[in-house]
Structures are given as structure tokens and as C-alpha cells.
């Protein structure tokens, strides 16, 4: 409290980047949680995950016209399209032996390449403009600063999505199956749940999460030719930092990345290019032993 009281003026210029970091971090969390599911539950390294996000982003750019109805429509279409793409991916992966990660990675990369090309062919090579609902287009006052209303609402919505995700994983039967499949996939198969169905379901859920992130996050990480790469990279760093064990770890890692990308850049502009790298190296170096033990068991 003392620090806050004494240092209001010093903290003040960094309030907005910090808030931006929360928005960015929550967006990365929603996008990355899909990859965590894919990897943790279905044991697939899905290199097309960024493309699933881009599907949502392009849908938002194409459908949003400034009204609430268009947002609902874009969200529905984006989530369904990305989930369908996830199921398609699961179908393509079926003939490949589980655990053959190298081949899975190459296959999903091929899909990402083709999918990205199709998106560019469909929506044009230029980064499209995204129009948020008119009611959220302005800015609101936050502690004496102007801040984009959309981002503030996005923080709330993304937090709700995170909470809902937590409840689904913790409290529902589907979530129980997901956790069981992480712990002991063979036992789950013995209990009569088809691994192929779990895989399709998980990839669909991962697609839906990425699609939702893509539609809602389009004003933050907008659709474009390198969106898929950016989102895939950020999600991978989240997975590496947060591990696969807990949602809390994923959330913390995502928020940390959000703050690094916004607040870190504001605080240390000259070191900005290296911050993400340094953070990953630092966390991995500190936690190397713990991670090593965990990686070995997965």
C-alpha cells in the first residue's frame, strides 16, 4: 500500500500497458488452453493450432459490422468452423499411430500450410480491418486514463471463459474423462471410451477454444498472414512455461507472457526483442529439474 501511495506517479504511465497485458494474457490463455488440451489429453503436437485461431479471426473480420447480432453470429460461425477444422484434423491424424509425434507434427504442419494458404485465398492477402460493436468502440476512463472499452469487456469475457473452462474440466463428466485421459489413457480405453472419440472431441474442443479466441481477440491479435505463426508461438511458449499439469500453470504463464509483451516492452524498450526468450530461458532454467521429471513421465 505504501508503495502504491508513494509511487502513484511512477506507476501511472505503466497502468495502461499492464492492463493491456492482462487482456493479451487472457487472450493467449484461451488460445493456448486448446493446445494444452490437444497435447495433454490427445498427445498430439498440433502445429495447425494457430491456423484454427486465424479461422476465428478471419470470420470476425468478415462478419462483424458494428452490431451485437453480428458479434454473436461471428462467434457462432467462428467457433463452429474452427471446431469443424479440428475434427477434420483428427480425421487426418487417425491413420497415424498414436505416439508418432514426428509424423503428427509434419502432418499438422502440412495442414497449417495449406489452411493458411486457403485463408489467404479466401480473404485476400491484406490484413483485414475488424469492426467491434459500436457500443464498445469508444474508450472509458480507468484511473484517470482513457482505455479501449472493448479490451476492458474482453478481459471480463475471457475471465468468464477461463472460469467456465475450469468448471467444465473439474465438475463435468466430460472434464473427468479429459483428466482421466491425461492420467491413464489405457485405463480410459479399458473403461469403454474410444480413444478415437476422445481425440476427435479434444481436437474439436481445442478448435472451438481457438476459434472463440480468434473471434473475440481479433481486435487485439488481428487476422493476417502471420497471425497463425504468432499465436502458435505464444501458445507453445505458454505450454513450455506452464507445463501440462494444471490450468493455473497455463493461466499464470499466459498472463506472464501478456505482461512481458506489453508492460515489459514499455519498461525496457531496448531489450524488448529478447524478453520473451529470456523469460522462457529463466523459467526453464529454474524449474529444469521439476520439468524434467514431469516431461519424463509424459
Amino acid at each position: 500500500m505504501i508503495a502504491v501511495a508513494a509511487g502513484t506517479n511512477r506507476i501511472d504511465p505503466y497502468l495502461i500497458p499492464a492492463l493491456d497485458g492482462v487482456a493479451y494474457g487472457l487472450l493467449v490463455f484461451v488460445a493456448a488452453s486448446g493446445l494444452v488440451f490437444c497435447f495433454g489429453v490427445a498427445n498430439i503436437l498440433n502445429l495447425a493450432h494457430g491456423t484454427l485461431y486465424a479461422i476465428g479471426g478471419y470470420t470476425a473480420a468478415a462478419l462483424l459490422d458494428g452490431g451485437w447480432a453480428s458479434l454473436a453470429l461471428a462467434l457462432t460461425v467462428g467457433v463452429l468452423a474452427a471446431a469443424a477444422a479440428g475434427v477434420l484434423l483428427a480425421g487426418l491424424l487417425t491413420p497415424i499411430a498414436t505416439g508418432n509425434h514426428l509424423t503428427q507434427a509434419l502432418l499438422t504442419f502440412g495442414v497449417a500450410l495449406a489452411g493458411g494458404s486457403l485463408l489467404v485465398a479466401g480473404f485476400g492477402p491484406d490484413d483485414p480491418q475488424v469492426r467491434v460493436p459500436a457500443a464498445l468502440d469508444g474508450s472509458v476512463a480507468v484511473a484517470g486514463h482513457r482505455y479501449a472499452a472493448y479490451r476492458l469487456v474482453f478481459i471480463v469475457v475471457a475471465a468468464l471463459i477461463a472460469a467456465a473452462l475450469y468448471l467444465v474440466v473439474r465438475r463435468t463428466r466430460a472434464g473427468m474423462l479429459v483428466r482421466a485421459a491425461v492420467g491413464d489413457p489405457e485405463m480410459v480405453a479399458c473403461l469403454g471410451v474410444s480413444p478415437a472419440r476422445i481425440r476427435a472431441g479434444v481436437l474439436a474442443a481445442a478448435g472451438a477454444l481457438a476459434g472463440a479466441a480468434g473471434v473475440l481477440g481479433a481486435p487485439i491479435i488481428g487476422p493476417g498472414t502471420d497471425t497463425a505463426d504468432t499465436v502458435l508461438l505464444l501458445s507453445l511458449v505458454v505450454v513450455v512455461l506452464g507445463g501440462l499439469g494444471s490450468m493455473a500453470g497455463t493461466l499464470l504463464a499466459a498472463l506472464a507472457i501478456g505482461e512481458i509483451q506489453t508492460l515489459g516492452v514499455a519498461l525496457l524498450p531496448s531489450a524488448a526483442p529478447f524478453l520473451l526468450f529470456a523469460a522462457m530461458a529463466a523459467v526453464l532454467a529454474v524449474r529444469a529439474r521439476g520439468l524434467a521429471a514431469r516431461w519424463r513421465t509424459t
Binding site: 514426428l102 504442419f109 497449417a112 513450455v240 526483442p273
Partner: protein, 339 residues
Amino acid sequence: MRDEVIRWARAAVAVLVLAGLVVAPWVVDDYTTAILARTLALALVGVSVALLTGVAGMPTLGQTAPYAAGAYASAVLGSRISDVGVVQVAVAAGAGAVLAALTVPLVVHARGVIILMITLAIGELVVTVLGRWRSVTGGTDGLAGIPAVRPFWGLPALATDQARYLYTLVVVATLVGAVLLLLRTRAGLLLRAGRDDETRLRASGHRVPLQVSGAHVAAGAIAGAAGSLLVVAQQYISPADFGFDTSALLLLGVVIGGTASVGGALVGAALVIAARDWLFGVLPGQAPLVLGALFVATVYLLPSGVTRARGRLRPVTVPPTHQDAPAAREHATVPELRP
């Protein structure tokens, strides 16, 4: 008998290919020669990928990181300090090795697909750094106007595409030869053993993490040297040369080549890169789409490449029937390892 025939056939093919590569610049036009030189540099990166993926059992998508480090080190050196090729290759290899050594703590404890993920993140982060560190790398515009390289002190600068190509060929052949020799030594044997049965090798007192780190640094040095060759071949570099798609293409090439075979990696990587260059030439708009479809098709069509491609799991020399008989496999490999 049959093995001997195969060995002779392989040697004959290698000699023929090498002869073809030597005479190539006089047969094809300058543009193709330049493309060939770049393909050779990328094939050398492919060799480093094979060294990690197949021989050491660490599947990697991040060899573009030391490759980029070598290329930029070489370019900066070339435009500011020295235009001597040997120095540039050595410095580039050193830069690649340093970057690989810095990332050793990130990968040494991980196995299998986790390495794939971490190395991918490393590679992408390096590209991000290259794009933003404008004062040294020129940002996304890249570095151009790098002076022509002279292979050795006192020799003339390489002014033609043919000369640059031959220089690249000589360096690649030397380095590939060195790798092949290295793999025949005890170090190579231990590396393979660590891939096949890490627990057993640890139990017999070998320090597997140390071997893995050594392989990682060596592969980084090779990729770094390849970066220097890219600068010579292309005379221009930008972060786009080191993107994630390059890593994935190289990995595909190495998988096509059979992951653990250096020659296979050279051929596979060269084929894949040539296919990409050709596709981008004939179908500028749809090239990524066709390339992606080719990726998917190749994955389905290559059962032999695919079964061998399981990181840190399976020996390549054992026939498929032995795959589920670890006892037989251990018998075959372990006695050779005893010092």
C-alpha cells in the same frame, strides 16, 4: 554378399552424385547454379537436423536458430571485418555452437515431442529477435550488400555464381565428410546407444546428458557453418530465410531420408527444398497450398521413413521384426559399447 553389393552400389551412387554436382555449374544456367548453392547450404542444415533427430534421438524443429546465428554472424563479419571464407565459416560455426550451447539447458532434460516443441519455440523466438534487433540484423529488411567472399587469404574474391557454388560445394563436402567420420568413432556409437537405450547406457556409467549436449552443440556448429554458406550463395539474408516453414521442410526432408542417415538427409532435404523452390516458381499463388498437400501426402506415403522417425525409441539398424523384442536389440548393441 548382398550387403557388399549394396555398399558398392551406394558408393557408386555417391560418387556419381558428387561428380554431377561438380560439373553442374557448367551445365545449367547461372540462376539455377545460385539456387543449387543455396540448396546445398540448406541440405547441410538438414544433416545437422538428422544428427539430432535420427542419431541423437532429439527431434528438432529449431535448427534454423543456429543456422540464423551463423548466417548473421557471417554477414556482419563479412561486411565489417573480414572477407576471408575460412574465417567466416569458422566464426559462423562458432556462433551456431554458442547459440546451441546457450539453449542446451532448455533441451537436455526433455525428450521426444517436448524437444520438438521447445526447439520450435527457440527457432521462432530467434526469428522474432532477428526481425526486431534492427541495429545489427537490419530488421525484417535483412542485410544486403555483403562483400564477395574470398575462400582463403590471398585468393581472389568469388565473383561468379559458379565460383560461389563450387566454394559452397567444397565446404559442404568437407563438413559432411567430417560428420561421417565422427559418427564412425566411439562418440557416434555412444550417441546411437543413448538414443536406443538411455537407461542402460546410464547404468553402465555413461553420461548421456553430456553426450546429448555435445551432439546439440556440434549440430549447432554445423548449422552455423551452413548459415555462412547461405550468405555466400544468396548474398542477402533476411529473417524470412529462417522461418518455421524452413525448419519443418528440413525435418520432412530428413524423415524422407530415413532420419538417421546423413546421406539420406542430404538427399531428402535437397529434394524437399528443390520441390519448394520449383513450386514457388511455377505456382506463385498456390505454392503453400500444394506444398501443404504434398506434406500430408508424403506423411501417408512414407511408411519406411515414418517408422524410423520415432525420436529416441528405435534403432535404425535393427530390422522391423525386432521392433518389439528389446532383449534381442540390447544383445546386438551393448557388447560393442564396453570400453
